[in-house]
């Protein structure tokens, strides 16, 4: 069976600079895959290409067997591929419920059905008590949670999560981790960018490492931790030699 998401030779340049260079990847349905790399490695750019926000200069992206290069994000979300943003983008002047309803409207056209579905999602994500709060008044943890809740309402098959743990304290990270594991149990495939290594190591079955836009390693958390090129990329050459 073909992988749920597959990319071959993806290239994204900004001017003369390669943000993503010749990246291959495959994600099977039901996996949790991590994407790591130093700052500026091209992780978010790769997500933007995979989710249709940026068009690659070269390469092929297939979702569920069909080629999706050139398709806009609003079309990809219909197939079940949905992303969150590193810098969260709540609809500030809408309530938490209305934020989630916007996601639910993808599958349901009537406001009353969308509201019912949104209520269900809020309960699932533990945000029911916040339903009538304006999104702009939420603290960062809840904004991140809302970002996930909103994408959930679109009934995604694959979620691209861009640093949903960044800026959270250890208790909040634990809460988000539990939520992600619940999503995974519900059958949603997860592809996540994360800087919090403990999270990546405990959550992911497989990890891809990006450095200067290129994939330099791929493997299980244990393999990645020992991979010489990864250690070098993160800690510098001297550390490796010492």
């Amino acid at each position: 069976m073909a992988p749920l998401l597959e990319a071959r030779g993806v290239v994204k340049r900004f001017g003369g600079l390669f943000a993503v260079r010749d990246v291959d990847l495959a994600i099977e349905a039901g996996e949790i895959v991590g994407l790591i790399g130093p700052n500026g490695a091209g992780k978010t750019t790769l997500f933007a290409v995979l989710s249709g926000f940026l068009r690659p200069e070269d390469g092929e992206v297939r979702f569920d067997g069909r080629s999706v290069v050139g398709l806009a994000p609003e079309e990809l979300s219909r197939f079940g591929l949905c992303r969150t943003f590193q810098l969260v983008k709540p609809f500030g002047n809408m309530t938490v419920l209305q934020n989630v309803m916007v996601g639910a409207f993808l599958r349901l056209s009537s406001p009353s059905n969308a509201a019912r579905e949104a209520e269900r999602i809020l309960e699932f994500t533990g945000m029911t008590h916040l339903r009538d709060v304006l999104a702009k008044t939420l603290p960062v943890e809840l904004r991140k949670r809302l970002e996930v809740a909103r994408t959930l309402a679109t009934h995604p098959r694959l979620l691209l999560l861009d640093e949903v743990m960044a800026g959270l304290n250890p208790t909040e990270i634990k809460g988000m981790l539990d939520l992600l594991l619940t999503l995974h149990r519900e059958g949603i495939t997860l592809f996540i960018i994360e800087h919090v290594m403990a999270v990546i190591m405990s959550l992911c079955q497989r990890i891809l490492v990006l450095h200067h836009g290129e994939k330099i390693a791929e493997g299980s958390p244990g393999e990645i931790a020992r991979h010489p090129r990864v250690v070098q990329a993160y800690l510098g050459e001297e550390y490796l030699l010492a």
Binding site: E74, M94, P111
Partner: protein, 327 residues
């Protein structure tokens, strides 16, 4: 975007509006009432694009002018009833909005605004120089032949009720939009366009829908204006001043609120520069002082517009009373 409990206040407002023209038979006051309904309708139509969808158009005078000119020209040249000419103008404006929208809604923020200004300016220049069709800079006089089919009335009160009909039709459309998926999507686009796209909102299509609906109703009000004043001239009908007026009324009344544009129109119209004649020579220029004062006060104390701030103040008052009552 609001709950069903708004039905009551909205129905009550409609009843009050219907009674307003009965409160006076003075032509000066009746003229203000007609204008409040007319500008309230235009501002409500602008609000669909500028308020709900957050696309700040300063070119809506273009649609207003197309409406005014199309129905008037068809009436003068072919004796076609302005009621039908109005629909032709509306269709033309909608088509125009679709083309211009397709070219410009990809532009974000100030660039969209600049594109809309340019559009109205181009039409204004065309209207001035295409004398054979439009009468050029001296404008178009619509001969007064009162009658229902000719959309002309002896009494200003009749105009007030016809204007009210236009206002209510526009308000009804906005009411329906607010309660539909389209309404939620437009607000989501205004708040965070990229996040909306990630959730499957077809941004281009929705912006076009908003601008087409808005242009259609603005165009109808343009026809109403022509039938009321019986004189259309390019320097006014396509002016930036007029486009700014639509936007200002909505900003003062409350962007993206149902009743805000009408409140803004009710406040601004009596102070309107086009009312200067009534203030007389002694107070010449005084209207500008009032105009400026209202703007400054709103910007300082009611940043979200009268509709939103009043609702917030009311809520604070209710909470305070409850707290006092419970000791």
């Amino acid at each position: 975007m609001m709950a069903m409990r708004d039905w009551g206040p909205r129905a009550a407002l409609v009843v009050v509006l219907a009674l307003v023209p009965l409160t006076t038979s003075n032509n000066y006051y009746m003229d203000i009432i007609v204008q409040v309904f007319m500008w309230g309708g235009a501002a409500t139509a602008w609000n669909i694009v500028g308020g709900y969808a957050g696309q700040f158009s300063l070119g809506h005078a273009a649609f207003f002018g197309i409406g005014a000119y199309t129905s008037s020209l068809l009436f003068i040249a072919f004796g076609l009833s302005p009621w039908i000419g109005m629909l032709a103008g509306g269709a033309l404006s909608a088509l125009f909005a679709l083309i211009i929208g397709y070219l410009s809604v990809r532009l974000r923020g100030p660039f969209f605004t600049l594109a809309t200004i340019a559009l109205a300016e181009v039409l204004q220049i065309l209207a001035i120089y295409w004398r054979g069709l439009t009468g050029g800079g001296s404008g178009l006089l619509v001969p007064f032949t009162p009658g229902v089919a000719a959309f002309m009335f002896e009494s200003k009160r009749t105009y007030a009720y016809v204007g009210l009909g236009f206002l209510l039709a526009t308000l009804a459309v906005v009411h329906l939009i607010e309660r539909s998926r389209v309404g939620y999507y437009l607000v989501a686009i205004r708040e965070e366009e990229d996040a909306a796209r990630a959730l499957g909102v077809r941004v281009l299509r929705l912006k076009l829908l908003a601008i087409v609906i808005s242009a259609f109703f603005t165009s109808l009000i343009g026809t109403f204006y022509a039938q009321y004043t019986l004189w259309v001239e390019p320097p006014y009908a396509f002016s930036l001043e007029l486009s700014i007026q639509f936007a200002l009324m909505v900003i003062i009344g409350g962007l993206g609120t149902w009743v805000g544009p009408l409140l803004g129109a009710a406040l601004i119209t009596p102070l309107n520069p086009f009312q200067r004649a009534w203030l007389g020579a002694a107070a010449s220029g005084l209207y500008l002082v009032f105009y400026g004062l209202v703007l400054v006060l709103v910007v300082l104390f009611m940043r979200q517009g009268i509709a939103v701030e009043t609702r917030l103040a009311f809520r604070r008052w209710v909470t305070l009373r409850r707290r006092l009552a419970s000791g």
